[in-house]
Symmetry: C2
Subunit: 131 residues, 2 copies
DNA sequence: CTAAACCTTCCCTTTATGGTAAGGTCAATG
DNA sequence: CATTGACCTTACCATAAAGGGAAGGTTTAG
């Protein structure tokens, strides 16, 4: 099948299919005489794996490794687990950072009357009185 | 003072000082005959405001508006509040997304024995059995 | 044969933060 | 005076992920 069909079946934009190929995440597709990429049902399978990994926030770099491990039947699960654990740590760190911002912002917004008057605790805080 | 000093005082990389200028977040600095940018204590103040805003995760676009409102003494606090509220919504949405990823990932990792054996619930999940 | 639908590669855009290169300026020191 | 080192300038490149759009070749249906 052509790239358009594999793209539809895997629900991955064809632009991204080409990109995954250029990044080495999926193997280089065979070509017709005219240069059109050709795909099989198995490629749909791989692309869905990639898509699901992206939905879980894995980086392209991690996904490349995950696909490789997935294909390698003699892998050890500890390798996979360590990639996932590292990713969890990064996500947790990001959540903590954003949550800290939210705590501050929610506090500021609660104290801002939000009317036509110019005085504003939000700007006051940004103004770094505390430094 | 030169860009190096204002950069140190505001704790903003001089690269970023130039960038903020090019984005119109801070006014264009005056120049010496040799072309060196010149800054005053007030510029330190503005840069600290920008830095604090970045720490709270505001986008450059938002910060441009916030600085403008901050300087405009006839602003109404409702304008500031609406920028902050929109930002809170975006951050909250991001936290929810990441938290959903974390829930899934934590579950998967808990069920993966993580040893030398090849069978791995993490890869099984990514494999989209459920679709 | 032509027009639509599909494919190709290449460059551009976004967001924020920098690295690096190539070169001009300034101040201190020998 | 000349050199050296610290500082400044602009300009281009890189990151990460997902595409938009151009310019052009191919295929298929009418």
């Amino acid at each position: 099948m052509n790239i358009g069909e594999v793209s539809k079946l895997a629900d991955v934009n064809s632009k991204m299919v080409r990109r995954y190929e250029s990044l080495g995440i999926i193997p280089k597709a065979g070509r017709t005489d005219a240069g059109y990429r050709q795909y099989s049902q198995n490629d749909v399978h791989v692309l869905r794996f990639v898509k699901r990994s992206r939905e879980l926030g894995f980086s392209m770099k991690d996904i490349k490794q995950l696909v490789s491990l997935w294909k390698n039947k003699s892998r050890s699960s500890v390798q996979v687990k360590s990639i996932a654990t590292k990713h969890i740590d990064e996500l947790q760190k990001k959540v903590n950072e954003i949550q800290a911002m939210l705590n501050t912002l929610n506090h500021l917004v609660k104290n801002c009357h939000g009317d036509q008057r110019p005085d504003c605790p939000i700007l006051d805080e940004l103004n770094c009185h505390h430094e």
